[in-house]
Amino acid sequence: MSGSVEQPPQPANALRLHRQLAAIWATGPGVQRLAAVNHSVLGLRMMITSFVFFAIGGVLGMLTRVQLATPNSTFMDAGTYNQVFTMHGSMMLFLFAIPMVESVAVYLTPKILGTRDFAFPRLTAYGYWCYLFGATILTVSLLAGVAPDSGWFMYTPLSSNVFTPGINADVWLLGVTFVEISALSLAMEIVVSVLKMRAPGMSLDRMPIFGWYILVTALMMIVAFPPLILGSILLEVERAFGLPFFDPARGGDPLLWQHLFWLFGHPDVYIIFLPMAAVLSTIIPVFAGRPLVGYRAIVVAIVALAFLSFGIWVHHMFTVGIPHLALAFFSAGSAIVAVPTAVQIFAWLATLSHGRPRWDLPMLYVFGFFFVFVAGGLTGVMLAMVPFDWQAHDTYFVVAHMHYVVAGALAFPMLAALYYWLPLLTGRSTVQRLSTVAFWLVFVGFNMTFFLMHLTGLLGMPRRIYTYTGYESWNWLNLLSSVGSFIMTIGFALVVIDLVVQLRYGRRVRRDPWRATTFEWAMPIPPQPYAFASIPHVGAGTDRTEAGRIALSLARGEGYLGAARNGWQETLGVHMVSGKPDQLIVLPQPTYLPLWTALATAVAVLALLFKLYPVAIVATVVIAGLFVLAAQRSGHARDYGPLPVGRGVSVPPHTEVAEAPPWLALICVLVADGTLFASLLFGTFYLWIAAPNWPGGVSPDPSRLLALGAVAALAVGAVASRLSLRALAAAGGAQGWIVLAMLALAGSIAALVGMMGGVTPDPRTHALGATAVALLCFVVVHAGIGLLFLVSNLLRLAGGRVSPRRLVDFRLTRLWLDYTTVTGVLALALVLALPALVSVLGARA
């Protein structure tokens, strides 16, 4: 079968190989840069973009400090201040912290794991553009003076259309959700890539610890973002169309928003912290001159941390009136988080104590991290104690704590990472004196600003007030905090100057300047778009070899895939656990498709923002079309069978294996989607059990017949899709089954829309009707996406992109339709059961 494939020539010399691979992998010049899909290019872009938003968010933070420096300040009025502090928090969290850690993951992970790129380069690009466009919408709203102003956690009813009638809250709900598309898509890509794309021989238990942290972080993102996305959708629907989910007068409950928000919000703190811990666990061993101590303990600790972090969101809600014993449970959970954190801290200390630490600039920032993170962790344990939180909640004590654990524990490792990896990006070393001064300015400024806030909070200053009168005894503390913030800002400015100076005048560094053992140093400096001229093999002792020593051999093509073939962007897929190569992954070339898709998404978001719903519908159709189009360009038009990949190994291309990246990606999608669905079920049950103003004896009459019809149609679709897969595998005709599945799905959609029309009570008047509509909509959307899968199958069947050996597409459709059927049955059962459930609990006002 592989007769027409070019055979790998004799080992080329390094320069020739570099030229060949560079020609294949390069992003074009000029306007073609917009078509980039390479992880190095996009990772760097995303990093720079996130730093721009860090600067904007930082300026907003400075504005709040100017306002609060003195009592009765007239620098800003309340309205402006509310926009400024809301955007400071929203930007720092959504537009800086999360994209920044993701950009680090995108840029570094493939290099550290010894592979050439991520699994879905076009998705990386789409994620980047969504981030850029969403962030731009938010920033423009600030310039236009209509920025969100309900605080970064958007508590409703304040953020409802009654109390925030303008566009401000819509900007947040739509803009942040837009940015979250990027976070979620990158998270899925990271999970699949870490699991499937590593250097051969790198089994999970010898994966660099960085990979573990990034994997756990990405998994957390997949589960953490859906509750907030659901909450944002429901709140936007309540604002735009009047369906009550949070309005207590109509059977909603404002506390539901808080639950959904903090189900995301708390894990988010660890989503930001874990990648920074990854940095520390990577660079501390380098400077200790020995491998990391307690690798397994740390892996267990971060997995435990991930689980715990989803169980303690209520500690943000100790004052909302939840029974004390329930709070005690969350209080204990929150305190226990200290255990896996302490395990990491002491593993780092043990690594240093058992090594021969050498002192260099990144270690200075590691010291900064220890200082602020331990302090922030200790105040975190204090706040986990319920009675203390009753006093400290929503005061500057919390502001101080939160900046210690999120800002400090992010900023110091981030700068440590910057100084550690910059030589890789620039090939130059830093100008020591400047960087040391910058550190001390940031460190002193940070602690001066935020340490004093603990006391300000204990003296009773609530967060989010735009002014105070002067007799509260907060004056001096606020003034000193403001002075500290300026010192910190000067420090950050000096870091920027230092970077510019380094780029211009830094000494050139030799390869692997820190004598590290991770693979990102086993490549040319600065990294080439193909990353590795050939992919390293991880054998006994590789993990302890200084990376610089194997770089030359890799450059000569002595690893895997050390030759150009067919102009393909090739990399290897490995078995998830053992790291044994099992497929040749051929990645897509640069394309403008992600840009167009993101632009169409931006149009849809803007149309929703300005309530131009027909435009939004057209844009959605365009987006769907572009996704189907993207699917048409994937894979191969023929079977290849096993192809040689070097070192005597032959593996089939990814199109011909069961465990292909798209398959794992769909599983990730379903996990995220299942979390969203579970959140919707949770919300429905929560309102039924806890919300005020629920009627006693309503007798809504959802049409059982239509429900039965919808379920039957979904089941027929799922079965037909299975049969189409079976027919294709047996090289028979599959079109008929696909068409049948499409008809079935269309039928189910019609039945569901019919049900929606008959929902009582009117969905605008009560949450009972509104939740029913939400559940039905969920099923409709999934059946609709199922139709897209089937359309794509038909097209790819016609285009010869599938074959009995290339079945992935059909397996994806089967899985999606199975999932749609299962969730559809659950959703419809709940819709039918809700009226009966309501009479179980009886009326309550």
């Binding site: 509310n82 508590y155 009813p157 304040l158 009654v162 109390f163 207590p248 409950d253 404002p254 506390l255 101590v293 307690g294 004052t319 909302v320 009136g321 004390h324 709070l327 005690a328 209080s331 204990a332 226990i336 200290a338 255990v339 302490a342 395990v343 801290i345 002491f346 593993a347 200390l349 043990a350 240093l352 104590s353 058992h354 021969r356 630490p357 200082f371 331990v374 200790l378 105040t379 344990v381 204090m382 104690m385 319920v386 009675p387 203390f388 009753w390 006093q391 909640h393 204990l458 003296l459 009773g460 609530p462 989010r464 007030i465 105070y468 007799y471 509260e472 005894s473 907060w474 005020p692």
Partner: protein, 231 residues
């Protein structure tokens, strides 16, 4: 020497005072929480010094601590240390929290006051005192525990008198109960502690605590004066 300690102690206490200070308690609940804070502060200082001290030693005294095996480092620091610190702390805080709850008390019924927040003011209603109401001034009797039933007419607010007790949210559609007791007559300061829009910063109120024997009359006078003011 003693004078120096006294002076610095006084300076420290002065730094902790203020009309909204949680560290200058005027009631049992705030007092209990302030004690919890001082205990935790002492513990935190010790732990912070311990970890930073270890960091300094392992970095600047190479080889220090290398006789302790890595596993022992992790078990001692990651499991034993947090266990010793956290378990008693959680138990202490749980008991302390239980004692602050507005549980039914023995014998006499605890008087109730209804507090309703709205953008941007507070209304207090006294069911035990003929249902009179006052705005932005809460009248209490010294030495008497009172249950405040807190709710909101519009968005979420929070009822907080830092010198007397912790805070509780005022959530529309719900009523939350907070027990408050002021030990001595006098004036205390309260404020909204949940961001509620443009007037959040100025949504303050005053708590006037009367001697128990003067309470009913003082409240009636204030309510009547307010009513007259409205007319």
């Amino acid at each position: 020497m003693r004078a120096a300690i006294q002076t610095s102690g006084a300076a420290l206490l002065a730094g902790c005072s203020g009309p909204f200070s949680t560290l200058a308690p005027g009631g049992a609940a705030a007092d209990s929480i302030a004690s919890l804070w001082w205990i935790m502060l002492a513990g935190a200082v010790v732990l912070f010094a311990l970890v930073m001290g270890l960091f300094g030693l392992v970095v600047w005294r190479p080889g220090w601590g290398s006789r302790v095996s890595p596993a022992r480092w992790i078990v001692l620091g990651g499991l034993v240390l947090p266990g010793i610190v956290l378990l008693p702390l959680i138990a202490y805080a749980l008991v302390a929290g239980e004692r602050l709850l507005p549980l039914p008390s023995f014998g006499s019924a605890v008087p109730r006051v209804e507090a309703e927040g709205r953008q941007w003011s507070w209304t207090f209603r006294y069911p035990g005192q003929g249902g009179v109401t006052t705005s932005n001034v809460l009248h209490l009797a010294a030495g008497t525990p009172v249950d405040i039933d807190v709710t909101s007419k519009d968005v979420i607010h929070a009822f907080w008198v830092p010198t007397l007790a912790g805070k509780i949210d005022a959530v529309p559609g719900r009523t939350n109960r907070l027990r408050v007791q002021a030990d001595r007559p006098g004036q205390y300061e309260g404020q909204c502690n949940e961001f509620c829009g443009l007037g959040h910063a100025t949504m303050r109120f005053v708590v006037l605590v009367h001697r128990p024997e003067d309470y009913a009359a003082a409240l009636a006078r204030a309510a009547a004066a307010e009513g007259a003011g409205k007319k």
